[in-house]
Symmetry: C2
Subunit: 225 residues, 2 copies
């Protein structure tokens, strides 16, 4: 059995189990028994459980961030100095995610859920790792968002970006469960691509909402600068 075989089988099993159950709730023994390798193999090949978590993310994120940078490059080239629109920027992101070569049919949704978990489960080491390794494309995405919404005040834009991240991370982090519910209730199959196709218009509309108080709550002191 070649080394890469054991390593890849550990990564495959870990990826799926982490996505299903979260990081703390997945033990090395679950991973190694699913991967049909010896327990010690994880610490031999990766060094620690945390390092394994990093490796799972790196296997997807490294090619993805390269693809994303290229997509941003193309987008900015196409716009010839004009800042790309909000929709163009959001689509560049989702397209890059959707077009990544998949190991299997569940590839994207598994990884979307992992990203959501990374954001919600406050694993300090993981956040630090992601920031260090993939902070650059993220900053670039933020800059594009800023240029695409010049009408927003810095404060409004700040909060609305948080709302966007929240809707995305949250939906993706539970998308398998949500899909199951949807299928049982409404008998509809849904792919990640379709979720993204619904999410982007929602986000774009929210980002560009008029920020007037449509119905000020009676009696409460809500003030908007």
């Amino acid at each position: 059995m070649a080394q890469s075989d054991t390593v890849d089988r550990i990564l495959d099993a870990a990826e799926e189990l982490f996505a299903d159950r979260g990081f703390s709730e997945t033990s090395l023994r679950m991973i190694t028994s699913k991967a049909k390798v010896n327990l010690a193999a994880v610490n031999y090949h990766f060094g620690s459980k945390n390092a394994l978590i990093h490796a799972v993310f790196a296997r997807f994120l490294t090619p993805f961030s390269a693809t994303l940078e290229k997509a941003f490059d193309e987008l900015e080239d196409r716009c010839e100095g004009q800042p790309p629109t909000l929709n163009q920027t959001l689509w560049a992101l989702t397209e890059s995610a959707v077009r990544m070569p998949q190991r299997n049919e569940k590839g994207i949704s598994i990884f979307m859920r992992l990203l959501g978990l990374a954001y919600t489960q406050s694993q300090g080491h993981l956040r630090k790792f992601l920031e260090q390794e993939y902070g650059d494309p993220f900053s670039r995405f933020m800059r594009l968002l800023k240029e695409a919404t010049p009408q927003l005040s810095a404060v409004d834009r700040y909060w609305r970006i948080q709302f966007m991240l929240g809707a995305t991370a949250f939906t993706m982090s539970s998308s398998d469960a949500l899909r199951d519910i949807l299928q049982n209730k409404l008998g509809v199959e849904t792919t990640v691509q379709e979720i993204a196709a619904r999410l982007v218009p929602f986000l774009a509309a929210g980002m560009q909402a008029e920020d007037t108080m449509l119905i000020p709550p009676s009696g409460s002191k809500v003030s908007v600068a």
Copy 2:
């Protein structure tokens, strides 16, 4: 030391620790040492760790769901048979949350984060508990949302509600941290009420977005029913 003292101190410590670190990542020993009570007190007063988690949710959700039902009653009375608008429904919810009597200044944001975790961390027992105990007001909220957005297909509405929940739970769950960042970066103070005032228009705009593909991704097969 009266019983209620120990019980409340356990609940206070558990609430805060769960919100900070998640359920599995918080041990009974952390809780009891923060609460300055004996380790066995948790199992004595609550029976198990899972029952403690339920109690933490019940302490907030039981009065909240009563307040919410009253707010919905008033709203429907005021509308005299007409279905309340989306903005009215959202405001009824956020006002009920904001007006809940707080144990401390972090009250709402802590509980928002707990709700987010309940949704994200797949704790089967917790989801079952919440469904059983508080399914009614939730269903009512869903019904109001449905009546307020008759133009949406069931599938569109389903997903957009998930996006709303995500933006809300995510933002509120980390609003303390976000507020700090905002104050440091932009020198602006922000209250939970003001965040809500920004969030509701964002959500309303997203819910009512035209679901046309504004910029169909070139070449990819995204279909929207």
